[in-house]
């Protein structure tokens, strides 16, 4: 199992966020994490990434307890594709993606020709090679998301964690990013992402983890778990989930 979470709880000083979560993420699949704002999706991801070390319970990646891994070892298993933030520091796309190679370098080493070739390879694979000398800060939302994905791929980890991969993307870019992610699962990657769009989970995810009030409200294959009852429980809105002729399912709001 790529990710195994046992009895995970996490509290901020005055607030319990995650309460006793247990689940396993199957390899080479897409797992969507659903839940209302502030339910702890980001906190869960940060625990998995080793960024919130003082949790209770146990998290294992490929049967290794992450508490026993240092950041460098952890980075070889699991990579993070963050939300895009503005920065005062301007790096080219090439430099940005090169940063993904750091975990594989010695402490005093710098990326060299070998790493640059790898970066070019990954950028070409994602159709981004024409952006290689552009300022990362000037890219469009879709482009910068894909560059962050390129950085994660260069890192060499097989588990990818994404906080709302399609936030602030236009409809076309959102679909293109999701299609690329789905394609990655066929190449051996395991993906965990959070989303607020039930249709995205219906269209692209193999399984769904629904969080409500810090607990697991439902977990399982998308087909079984994604029901109008679940969405009502999570978001307090009435929806209908219809099956189309081709077998796809779609979520339609009933009343606003």
């Amino acid at each position: 199992m790529s990710i195994k979470v046992e009895n995970l709880s996490y509290s901020y000083p005055d607030l319990a966020v995650l309460k006793d979560l247990s689940f396993t993420a199957p390899e080479e699949k897409m797992l969507a994490v659903l839940g209302p704002n502030g339910v702890g999706k980001s906190t869960l991801f940060k625990c998995l990434l080793g960024l919130r070390p003082n949790y209770q319970g146990k998290i294992s990646l490929y049967d290794q307890d992450i508490k026993k891994l240092n950041p460098k070892e952890l980075a070889r298993h699991i990579a993070y594709i963050p939300q895009i933030e503005r920065s005062s520091f301007h790096y080219t796309v090439k430099e940005t993606v090169l940063m993904g190679t750091t975990a594989a370098l010695g402490f005093f080493a710098q990326p060299g020709l070998e790493q640059e070739r790898r970066v070019e390879e990954v950028l070409t694979g994602l159709g981004l090679n024409h952006l290689i000398y552009r300022d990362f800060q000037t890219l469009s939302g879709g482009e910068s998301k894909l560059v962050m994905l390129a950085r994660a791929l260069v890192q060499g980890a097989k588990i990818l964690i994404m906080d709302e991969p399609t936030a602030a993307l236009d409809y076309g870019n959102a679909l293109r990013v999701m299609a690329i992610l789905q394609d990655l699962t066929k190449r051996g990657y395991t993906l965990l992402y959070s989303t607020h769009d039930p249709n995205q989970a219906l269209n692209f995810s193999d399984s769904v983890l629904a969080l409500y009030d810090g607990e697991i409200s439902a977990y399982g294959s998308t087909e079984k778990v994604m029901t109008s009852e679940l969405l009502h429980r999570l978001y307090q809105v009435k929806v209908r989930i219809d099956q189309l002729e081709d077998g796809n399912r779609i979520c339609i709001p009933l009343e606003i």
Binding site: K46, L49, G50, L51, N70, P71, K72, L74, A75, R76, I78, A79, Y80, P82, E85, S87, S88, F89, H90, Y91, T92, E95, M99, G100, T102, A103, A104, L105, F107, F108, A109, Q110, P111, Y133, R134, D135, R151, Q155
Partner: protein, 340 residues
Amino acid sequence: MITPRKPKLVLLGFSLLLLLLIFFSFFLGRYPIELEQVADLPNKLIASWFNQVNLNLTPDETVLYNIRFPRILAALVVGASLSAAGAAYQGVFQNPMASPDVLGASAGAAFGAALAILWRFSNQGILLSAFFFSLLTVFLVWTIGQRTKGSRVLGLILAGIMISSLFSAGTSFIKLVADPLDQLPAITYWLIGSLSGVKRSQVLFVLPFMVLGAIILIALRWRLNLLTLGDEQAQSLGLNPQRLRLIAIISSTLLTASSIAISGMIGWVGLVIPHLSRRIIGSDYRYLMPLSMIFGGTFLLAVDNISRNLLSIEIPIGILTAFVGAPFFIFLITAKEGNL
């Protein structure tokens, strides 16, 4: 603002400029020196180093070797050190407005030197005292910053402001009780910042510390890039951000304290030069760190040449760097690009 296609060519160009400036600086000054008069100096120096022969210098050679050489060397290493420290602090704090003054390193060093002058320490004593208090301030700021609630970076900067003002008050008190005939002018002049009267022994005393700090920052310069992304991204990319930040801060403080110990308070270099360097060669520390060092040395040497030659009395270099630095700062915070 981003890395040009051939950053190494830019570095080479700046290095050549620096070498030219160093050469001409030897011949600038009130005492005129003819090139032919000193052509033999390198041979004499080599002979005295290897064969233990006494140096027998002509007046021209004495000026060149005992007065201008230490001063040029001091301008170079102080400029390079302050800029390198500023560049590193900016990455560590993810704030392109950070500088050696942020961590209170300057205020601490000033207090240490003033105290040493008050207690009539020797020159080496002043150096060590400035050095000790500079490190002490940074340690205090670091410890307090770690205990603040909320943003660590902001906490650190606020702690720096508080501790700096505490040590500045201490310096003011020392000035109050200092002997107004000899100690007070010495302290005041030192606080202004000047390279006049720098001795070779002083430069050689701090040089190893500077070299150590510079080597560490150069060796870690790729990783400084990741710190500018913030701790969470840096760590998820396989770094221990707290450890790297600590190493970078200690190295930068070593550079700042050593500089202030021989030159007094020379402000603005650590802010302005890394910033200009970033505009020329981009944010990638692989090129930014070396350029900041080269450019910093060039800048301070050029300004020091002006300070020695502009008026019949020497203008302390700290005043000149402030005249250049303050308007530049205003330009930065009001500039339309708003890239801060």
